[in-house]
């Protein structure tokens, strides 16, 4: 499955090896890993809980991957996103794209991540010294997506 939403951690090396296994046409692999930081908006973050919309989340990410495939010549892609309780240093998300050349792979990987941040239904709730709070969406994430639209 190119899209997985799971509580378990992931091993990027293993996932990349599986994605490109037996395909000698692959000349480039781009990957991105998002990780939990110990600070956000000026406050220490002890842990966070990630919630999603089962069904829609997987569908939204699959659609983003299809858009990337329509836009660039890439072979395969994989998105793994974790849910549940996560702590600083934990991995949150993995995006891997394989292609013949690096240009397409880099661009598609960034595109998938930018769209995931603004379209895929996930929500973060942080535990801070001031109490629990829902993370606010960022305008910079909306601008990141606008960048791709203006290139259309």
């Amino acid at each position: 499955m190119p899209v997985r939403v799971q509580t378990e951690d992931f091993d990027a090396g293993h996932e990349i090896a599986m994605l490109r296994r037996g395909n000698p046409a692959v000349g480039a692999i781009a990957s991105f890993i998002g990780v939990v930081r110990d600070v956000n908006d000026g406050n220490d973050v002890a842990e966070m809980t990630l919630e999603h919309y089962p069904g829609m989340t997987e569908k939204a990410i699959a659609e983003i991957i299809e858009q990337a495939k329509a836009r660039w010549k890439i072979f395969d892609s994989l998105v793994i996103h974790r849910i549940g309780c996560l702590k600083p240093l934990d991995q949150i998300v993995l995006v891997v794209v394989t292609g013949a050349h690096r240009g397409e792979a880099f661009a598609a990987c960034e595109f998938i991540m930018d769209y995931l941040k603004t379209r895929a239904p996930f929500w973060k709730k942080e535990q801070t010294p001031l109490g629990a709070r829902w993370v606010e969406s960022r305008e910079s994430d909306d601008r990141a997506v606008e960048r791709w639209r203006s290139k259309e």
Partner: protein, 84 residues
């Protein structure tokens, strides 16, 4: 009947994960449904207020305020997403 789902901050402030309601004939789009829910007052009036940052999906696709809704649809309301 339609199913309405609430996520994240909305689920907490409204005290509801989901509900099924009979769709009044006059309620044909998302905006009208939002207005209907706003009439419940309290946290509903606050969360469904016009100025409030709110996203919605119809049958698991992101949808705009003028999206048509009908019997059997699964509607979801949630805050702007913050994954990744």
């Amino acid at each position: 009947m339609i199913t309405i789902l609430y996520f994240a901050r909305l689920r907490e402030s409204l005290g509801k994960t989901s509900e099924e309601i009979a769709l009044p004939p006059a309620v044909g789009d998302l905006d009208a449904l939002r207005a209907l829910l706003r009439q419940r007052g309290g946290a509903w009036a606050e969360e469904m207020a016009d100025g409030r940052q709110l996203r919605a999906a119809v049958n698991q696709d992101l949808a705009q305020a003028d999206a048509r809704i009908g019997d059997g649809d699964e509607i979801a309301f949630f805050p702007p997403v913050t994954g990744g």
